[in-house]
């Protein structure tokens, strides 16, 4: 297992290099930071001084080399806009993202998994129909619309919950539900499919022919065999919500890293964008690695070493 993990970590190096080049080049296509950060009447000297200060006067390969060698020594660069290290910005914003991700993912698992299992076990029943209808709705309704509707109903009309911001648990509820709605829908669909697929396998008939209790068949035969597709989708979604959920964060004025990244792109804050893309890539890679390790826990056929 250790060898497998080490090998996977080594394999991520080319991925990270590729991502860093893409992020570095793409953000430079958005335009010139000096034009945005300096007043329109700024003199050529001021612009040159600005570019020199942030190293933007050098050739692209040199800039990239400086960026990467700094990253390797743990220096993610300094925000042009705020003039503070990107790492400090990340540390400031990440807790909000983790909080929202944890809350929405918990809701999604608590609701989506059981609903998906019931729909799969009782397929073609009225319960299945109801669950599938809501899953369809959850996937079809865009996040910004659901968020706004929740604000209109629960914050504006009923005045039960605040419209946005972060700090109290009441402020967490609406954004968490908004994000969870989509996650639940996705989880229901995958869980239902996996359970339905497993339920039809011959070894389930064998298990039933052995006179096992329904609970045992569900737990150690149906669910254990359904876990691979389910943890795949959970892993992908954990990666996605941890890398910031722009729409939900914007609608609810939630100070997470998603909003920070979008703001950085608008203001051409190159160091922030570059570094955040790298961080998000690392988060994705780590989550995927955990998912791969989890696979071998659930399926002995892909167990390594």
């Amino acid at each position: 297992m250790t060898r497998f993990v080490l090998r996977r970590i080594v394999q991520t190096i080319p991925t990270l290099i590729g991502i860093s080049i893409a992020a570095f080049l793409l953000v430079r296509l958005t335009g010139d930071p000096a034009a945005l950060m300096l007043p329109p009447e700024a003199t050529q000297e001021a612009i040159d001084a600005f570019n020199e200060k942030f190293g933007l006067d050098q050739s692209l390969p040199v800039q990239y080399w400086k960026f990467m060698s700094a990253v390797l020594t743990g220096d993610l660069g300094t925000s042009i806009r705020f003039n503070i290290p990107v790492w400090d910005l990340f540390v400031e914003r990440m807790p909000a993202t983790v909080e929202l991700a944890a809350a929405s993912m918990s809701i999604a698992l608590l609701v989506g998994l059981p609903a998906g299992i019931i729909a799969g076990l009782k397929n073609r029943s009225w319960m299945d129909a109801v669950i599938r209808f809501f899953a369809f709705l959850g996937q079809a309704v865009p996040g910004f619309y659901l968020g706004l509707m929740l604000i209109v109903i629960f914050a504006v009309q009923l005045r039960w919950l605040p419209t946005g911001g972060r700090g109290t648990w009441q402020q967490l509820i609406l954004p968490a539900i908004t994000l969870a709605a989509y996650l639940i829908a996705l989880l229901v669909r995958f869980t239902r499919g996996a359970v339905l697929d497993t339920k039809r396998q011959l070894h389930i008939t064998t298990a039933r022919s052995k006179g096992l209790s329904s609970w045992l068949i569900l737990r150690s035969h149906i669910l254990k065999n359904s876990m691979i597709p389910i943890i795949t989708i959970i892993g992908l979604q954990v990666g996605a919500v941890l890398s910031g959920t722009v729409v939900t964060e914007v609608v609810f004025n939630w100070p997470g890293i998603g909003r920070m990244m979008v703001d950085a792109i608008y203001t051409r804050d190159f160091p922030v964008v570059q570094a955040m893309v790298m961080i998000v890539a690392v988060i994705f890679i780590v989550v995927n690695l955990i998912v791969d390790i989890a696979y071998s826990f659930f399926d002995p056929r892909i167990r390594r070493d």
């Binding site: 073609r124 039809r200 396998q201 011959l202 070894h203 008939t205 064998t206 298990a207 039933r208 022919s209 052995k210 006179g211 096992l212 209790s213 329904s214 045992l216 150690s220 035969h221 254990k224 065999n225 659930f298 399926d299 002995p300 056929r301």
Partner: protein, 336 residues
Amino acid sequence: MTPLLSVQNLTTEFTVESGVLRAVDSVSFDLHAGEVLGVVGESGSGKSATVLSALRLIPQPPAVIRGGEVWFNGRDLLQLSERELKRVRGRDISMIFQDPMTSLNPVLTIGQQIAEVLEAHDRDLSGREVVERSVELLDSVGVPDARNRLKQYPHEFSGGMRQRAMIAIAMANTPSVLIADEPTTALDVTIQAQVLSVLEKSRTESGAATILITHDLGLIAEMADRVVVMYAGRVVESGPTDEIFNSPKHPYTVGLLGSLPKLEGEIQRLVSIDGSPPDLIALGPGCPFYVRCELAGTRSLCSSERPSLEVASSNHLSACHFHDEVESFAQRAGVL
């Protein structure tokens, strides 16, 4: 003598898009203590559906058990609660399935899969006793190094070894009825014989009465005491094995026998039964075998009236209007 297991008029239907399909149509047969009952027929003739329905293992929906009785130990299995039936399954009546790759759970060890059937029917067993009994069972079906192999998963077993493990699971609670559904069909020819001898050994040692489902008439000739021949969801002939082979009473059985290679005499081309099994959704009023039957010819009785299963000679039942003519027909056809 009261039969150990008695299936009476069992009927199971499947609702599919194009209509209702009667996969098991008024099937009746008895299984007596200690005997081996062979069930033969083409794919789709309802062999598996019959036994799966008898234990209510057939997935409902899409299947619906429309009627019938399955008597075992003085109780009708079709009337038992699910809870009561679970105590019969795996303890009194157990099953071996065709493909040991797909009928064992890939994510549980062989040991876990043996242990769960022991524990399900005897809650007083200690963990230690379960392991010892599992080792004993795996050992008895000829899996070498049984203790260590309990910790392995099905994919670490070869096909033959997996089917031995399946037999061990089926025999775990020394059932009085064993249902083997094509137990060697999915195996390499070279290991079929080994697995069969393991099955035969387990069966004789435990004295379990056995229903052997197969389309392999050679296997039937070797193992079965009596035979039930199924066609289009119905029993078309049943009787003692030697009678079925020596004086068949149904043209379909003659067709099956004709497709067997013979050891003596000149090697001739193997005969096949023309046509294919009928569409169970669109069965006419006559005999389901009529269109493929060489004996029927143009006789209107065969196309208009469905023959019922009647006594052709002592212990020998046939669902053919002209069962008296079958034997001479078989001789003309060179089958006997």
